[in-house]
């Protein structure tokens, strides 16, 4: 894989690790066969989660396109996550592999314009693994909390226009 184009150090978001900040938001595109079901299961067990993350139901993570991820970031989200089936267990064979590729593509794109690539993440889990979903959401919340609110102008203009 080609190395991401170098961005100037000045324009670059610095690392994570700062305390959680309220008011941040993350859009989670969840496959209805696995992650959305895992989310339902964890919620039914009354597992508390940070309110940062809002779910969007998808039929398959293969349906998620870079347009969705970049638009969400451009229109107010501080982070986006894609949660799909375990590798090799996609109900449509390889939709989750498509998603993995697209997330990697968006990460490279973000990096190239000086946005922390970890604002876009891919997670895989089965419907029977609610703890994995919980961990994913907490991880995302921790990462986004550690970053400053996203500078909208930093997100590629094409995405904002497209939305």
């Amino acid at each position: 894989m080609a190395a991401a184009p170098a961005a100037s150090a000045a324009g670059r978001e610095t690392g994570v690790g700062q305390p959680a900040v309220a008011g941040r938001s993350v859009v989670a595109f969840c496959c209805r066969e696995c992650a959305y079901a895992a989310a339902d299961a964890s919620a039914n067990a009354r597992t508390s989660l940070p309110p940062t993350v809002r779910l969007v139901l998808m039929p398959c993570t293969g349906r998620v396109s870079p347009l969705h991820l970049l638009s969400a970031l451009a229109e107010g989200a501080d982070g986006v996550m894609v949660a799909g089936c375990l590798e090799g267990q996609c109900h449509y064979r390889e939709g989750n592999f498509n998603a993995i590729d697209r997330v990697a593509f968006v990460q490279r794109l973000l990096k190239s314009v000086g946005v922390a690539p970890e604002r876009c993440r891919m997670f895989t889990m089965s419907a029977g693994e609610p703890p994995k979903f919980v961990a994913a959401v907490k991880e995302m919340d921790r990462v986004i909390g550690g970053l400053p609110p996203l500078e909208r102008s930093a997100v590629p203009a094409v995405a904002r226009g497209a939305a």
Binding site: D40, T47, S48, L67, H68, E75, A77, Y92
Partner: protein, 1118 residues
């Protein structure tokens, strides 16, 4: 949009955390929101009523349901929307319970803010939600089951029991599948056929199951519930009149490896796979016409008489050879035998000596066959002018049809050009006379010395009571080829020279003869000249000059070779310029060398003179043999007969001349120039035409329909051991040139049989008609032909099964090379009570009982490196264990060793069975074999490594049995292609979901069962067949099917036809059309709504209903 927002308290689950009134106030002013309502349980009766009233009172078109996860009550609200006629896709969900109240109890303020966002997302999304079309298909309560093995039969019976009409399609002549070929079954050791046979009968007798054997599925199209299936029925060539007596089998001369027995036995071209076959009707395997039959002008079944010669049945061979052609002995000598040119064996070594075999049977059997006068059936009389091959054949066929026939011949002897044009050494006169006499013995009158136009006229014949006349006068004189000096003494013409010779004269030739021409007549004249010179006490000196090369020469190449053996000089690429005389006599001939130029319209390369290459040859006799011409004296007194370019005009379809009732054929007719066999063919066409004319209807075909030609594949040819033709005894060239003896003696019976055995039986059935004669019920039906039948069915069950891995692909194990290496399936046939050895275990090399047997597991399974198959074939461990047990019980002295990778016996009672067999003394060794070497005594040296102890050993075995793995059958691969189904490794059909939908395929309405889906044993196949049947029954019970709402659809105006969607679609639901307005089209019956195409589409032309970019973005970007 006129949307209603319905907020559910969920009995406090939601309202306990979120302030619903605040949310209601928040959304009420939003764009598109018409009404907002709150209820304790929106999914309950009260909530339902509240929604209904709101829709009715306020004219809502969208519902925003803010409640639990759409995965719980989503379908309930979608059903309500459908009931209220809001269409598909009218509901947007705000997941306030699992998505908010349940998980943010401890942060109610933040939860309230998040809930507002969730609601806003749902409302924004609803703005873009439009109705989605669904297609409705009414179901046909019928199914097609592809494959008639145990899985197919089980599924068919289950379907039929539910009142569903079933078409069972089986490619083999009988249903029964792989199970019918097994000996016994594990772990109970009960006989496979004993449990299968009752099922075969019950399936066949089940009124709702229509069994189509010898049938394949060519096409499946249309939506589920209404599949259009195209069935291709191959002909069986045996009608239902067959009583199954089997009289046809011993008389069939064609033997081939028995594929039902995996090649451990032979079968005949007419066969029934096994005793209990269903249907019990025999079947003939026929691949069309053999190349030899197709090439022959009269379509003689050469493969047929060759097969009968190989079987030593010479009388029957003669019957087959003489049926279309009365000149067997003649054609066996002088025919151009295009059959041999076409012979497939010629691609391997030498073509079969078909002509010599014909000569053998006609010479040996022909003279012994008594001929009775044919009964007169019709009153009409037919006159035939010319007793050559065309005339005599026409006379024979007409006599057989029951006509009175008179043949008029100008010469004092019958036979035409065969008699007057071909010298004795090549075709003895008595041979022609015998065959002519046999035809005349049918009651045909022959009038010799009667020349048409001179001694009688055609008009006169028609006035004398002949209703039809057949003109077959031939081309009786040499064609003219003007050359300076051709009027000198010593210049003669071949046709005239040979006629004088053959009618008993002794033509005078000089001491230096030059023959000009390259046809058979030129060679005959040249070789006769050698003999005439020798007879006159001169040293033979004959030169043949031909203007093209050997390749273009129309004469038979062996003629040139035989001529050279006799001292003939042949000059190729030489043409004559002038004949030089001395006084009135020939002194020399001026010649010129040529080179080959461009091909002319006949395809032969034209000779081009080479300037300055002129030379002279001293000669006293010049013989022209440059073609023949018509002697048209018969046209005198034949009113209305027209000639064209020196031949008689005939209608190609009726063989009639321009004079009503007068027909013509052979060399004289304007249909081209004929060889002897083509003249015979012309005679047959003439007889058929005259019969049709006299009867006033088209009763007989004038020209045979050409059939498909069966040719062995390159692979089949490559497997044939190279040999050579059995040579025929020849008289020495220098010896034979002194007299008129025949050049070759012909085959002996032993030589003929040996030569005939080389035949490859290209077409399988040789059409020798032996079975037709043997069948007591007249069941053989050559009129059967391939037919296509279209049926419409609601569901498809695929049960096309598996086949054994081709163990030849593991070369080191010697299968196919060593006699005593076989596969487990072959062993099953040997151990089967109804098998070829009646259950006796025989070592292939010597038919003895093997004393030491090795079974080798995982051949072509769990072996990615050399076979490409990673999968475990699931049945082989127990298959080998079963066979070992059977051997041990029948032959206690035989040692059996099983070399395994891992012993896998997970089925019910399988482990117990394995332990039992082990206790019977079968040795299990964990290890793999590196190589097998055949010893001179055909036993097998095996290098074996015990992977448990690490001990390496080398042992000798009498027999090695390979447990070859299971792969998808050819039928499975074919149906996957036809039905558009995906396949997994080794070609097995991929199920829709490996756990949740194991009998569904990715196409709705198509189900899979048995080993077509993957390796499995019999009970598992049956269980799966019943599951597949249950799925089909369930679907067919609903009356109709709707396509799903959430499917992709393409906008042709936006689509750029890049084809990405087609590439990424995991279901194969998308296709790109061709033409100027090419665009992608989604089949809603196949699409499963994943939306991968939508994400990949570069223009956004293809959108997934319910998850379009607009809908997703609206929700994600609030």
């Amino acid at each position: 949009m006129r949307a209603g927002v319905f907020l559910c308290q969920c009995g406090g689950n939601i309202s306990g955390v979120l302030d619903l009134d605040d949310l209601a106030a928040h959304v009420r002013p939003m764009d598109g929101v018409t009404t907002v309502a709150i209820n304790q349980f929106m999914c309950g009766t009260e909530g339902h009523q509240m929604i209904s009233e709101a829709v009715e009172d306020r004219g809502l078109d969208h519902l925003i349901v803010a409640s639990c996860s759409p995965r719980f009550q989503g379908p309930t609200f979608e059903r309500i929307a459908r009931e209220l006629r809001l269409g598909e896709n009218a509901v947007a969900f705000a997941n306030l319970r699992e998505g908010c109240s349940f998980i943010h109890k401890d942060q109610p303020e933040l939860a309230q803010e998040k809930a507002k966002k969730i609601l806003a997302g749902a409302i924004a999304r609803a703005q873009h939600q439009s109705d989605l079309p669904r297609q409705r298909t009414f179901l046909h309560r019928s199914a097609v089951v592809v494959g008639g093995g145990i899985a197919g039969m089980t599924a068919a019976e289950e379907l039929a029991a539910s009142g569903i009409e079933v078409h069972m399609v089986e490619r083999q002549p009988s249903i029964g599948g792989y199970m019918a070929r097994l000996s016994k079954t594990f772990p109970t050791e009960d006989c496979a056929m004993c449990s299968l046979a009752p099922r075969l009968t019950s399936t066949a007798l089940e009124g709702r199951v229509h069994v189509h054997t010898l049938t394949e599925v060519d096409e499946i199209s249309g939506p589920p519930g209404e599949f259009s299936v195209k069935l291709r029925h191959r002909p069986r060539y045996v009608s239902e009149a067959c009583v199954g007596c089997g009289e046809c089998v011993p008389v069939c001369p064609v033997k081939l490896p028995n594929d039902f027995d995996f090649g451990v036995s032979e079968r005949k071209a007419i066969d029934r796979q096994f005793a209990n076959a269903v249907p019990s009707t025999f079947a003939i395997e026929k691949k069309g016409w053999s190349p030899c039959k197709s090439a022959c002008a009269v379509h003689t079944s050469a493969q047929g008489y060759v097969a009968l010669v190989a079987a030593g049945r010479f009388e029957e061979a003669y019957r087959v050879a003489s049926e279309p052609n009365p000149f067997g002995s003649v054609c066996g000598r002088i025919c151009t035998h295009l059959c041999e040119t076409a012979c497939a064996r010629g691609k391997v070594d030498d073509p079969i000596a078909i002509a010599s075999l014909k000569r053998f049977v006609a010479d040996t059997v022909g003279p012994t066959v008594p001929v009775q006068p044919a009964p007169i059936v019709h009153e009409e009389r037919v006159a035939i002018v010319g007793a050559g091959p065309a005339g005599i054949t026409c006379a024979r066929d007409l006599a057989d049809l029951g006509y009175r026939v008179t043949v008029f011949e100008a010469q004092q002897v019958a036979g035409g050009m065969l008699r007057t044009g071909i010298p004795d050494y090549r075709l003895p006169h008595d041979v022609i006379q015998r065959e002519v006499d046999q035809v005349l013995a049918k009651g045909i009158e022959l009038k010799l010395g009667r020349r048409a136009g001179t001694d009688f006229t055609v008009d006169g014949l028609l006035e004398d009571g002949y209703q039809a006349v057949y003109l077959a006068t031939g081309l009786q004189k040499s064609a003219e080829a003007p050359l300076p000096g051709d009027d000198l003494g010593g210049v003669t013409r071949a046709v005239e020279l040979l006629r004088e010779l053959n009618l008993g004269g002794t033509p005078i030739v000089g001491s230096k003869v030059v023959v000009i021409g390259g046809g058979d007549v030129a060679l005959d004249a040249a070789r006769s000249a050698i003999r005439l010179q020798k007879q006159a006490g001169k040293e033979p000196d004959v030169t043949l000059v031909y203007r093209r090369s050997k390749v273009e020469m129309p004469a038979n190449v062996t003629e040139v070779e035989e001529g050279r053996e006799e001292g003939l000089t042949v000059e190729f690429l030489v043409q004559p310029l002038a004949i030089e005389g001395k006084g009135s006599k020939v002194a020399s001939i001026k010649l010129q060398r040529c080179a080959l130029g461009e091909p002319d319209e006949s395809g032969r390369r034209q000779p081009v003179a080479v300037a300055g290459s002129e030379f002279e040859l001293v000669a006293d006799t010049i013989v022209f043999a440059v073609g023949q011409a018509l002697v048209d004296d018969f046209a005198q007194g034949c009113d209305g007969l027209e000639l064209e370019a020196g031949q008689i005009c005939v209608d190609r379809d009726t063989m009639m001349t321009t004079r009503e009732g007068v027909f013509a054929g052979g060399d004289a007719a304007a249909m081209g120039f004929y060889t002897a066999i083509e003249a015979v063919a012309a005679g047959r066409r003439g007889a058929a035409s005259i019969h049709n004319f006299l009867r006033g209807q088209r009763l007989l075909p004038v020209w045979d329909d050409e059939r498909e030609v069966a040719r062995p594949t390159e692979e089949e040819l490559a497997a044939i051991a190279i040999g050579q033709r059995v040579p025929m005894q020849m008289v020495d060239g220098l010896q034979r040139r002194g007299d008129w003896r025949e050049v070759s003696d012909g085959y002996t019976a032993e030589q003929a049989v040996a030569e005939a055995e080389r035949c490859l039986n290209c077409a399988v059935c040789s059409e020798c008609d032996s079975c037709v004669r043997a069948c007591p019920s007249g069941a053989i039906d050559w009129d059967q032909a391939e037919t296509i039948e279209g049926i419409t069915v609601g569901a498809v069950i695929i049960a096309t099964g598996h086949q054994e891995f081709d163990a030849r692909r593991k070369r080191s194990l010697g299968y196919g090379r060593y006699d005593n290496v076989m596969t487990q399936s072959q062993l099953a046939r040997l151990l089967a009570a109804a098998g070829p050895t009646a259950g006796e275990l025989e070592r292939p090399s010597d038919k003895g009982v093997p004393k030491n047997v090795l079974m080798l597991q995982c051949v072509g399974s769990r072996d990615c490196q050399s076979s490409g198959n990673e999968h475990c074939s699931a049945v082989c461990c127990l298959f080998a264990t079963l066979h070992s047990s059977l051997i041990k019980q029948h032959y206690p002295d035989t040692e059996v060793t099983i070399g395994y990778t891992d012993l896998r016996a997970p089925g019910k009672a399988h482990e117990e069975y394995y332990k039992l067999v082990q206790s019977r003394g079968v040795r299990y060794v964990r290890g793999r074999v590196s190589e097998i070497i055949e010893e001179p005594d055909k036993s097998l040296r095996v290098r074996l490594e015990d992977t448990l102890t690490g001990r390496k050993s080398e042992e000798l075995f009498d027999l090695v049995v390979l447990s070859a793995g299971l792969e998808a059958s050819e039928g499975t691969k074919d149906i996957a292609h036809v039905a558009g189904l995906q396949t997994a490794s080794a070609g097995f059909i991929k199920e829709y979901h490996p756990k949740l939908a194991p009998v569904d395929t990715q196409r709705t309405g198509m189900f899979v069962a048995g080993t077509a889906q993957g390796p499995k044993n019999i009970p598992d196949s049956i269980a799966q067949a019943k599951a597949a049947a249950a799925r089909a029954i369930g679907m067919l019970s609903t009356g109709f099917v709707l396509t799903p709402a959430q499917v992709a659809a393409s906008d042709p105006d936006v689509c750029i036809a890049c084809g990405v969607c087609e590439t990424v679609c995991p279901q194969g639901a998308v296709a790109v059309t061709t033409g100027a307005d090419a665009h992608s089209v989604v089949d809603p019956n196949i699409c499963r709504g994943c939306g991968i195409c939508n994400a990949e589409c570069p223009t956004g032309a293809i959108q997934l209903g319910g998850f379009s970019d607009e809908e997703v973005l609206a929700e994600a970007t609030v």
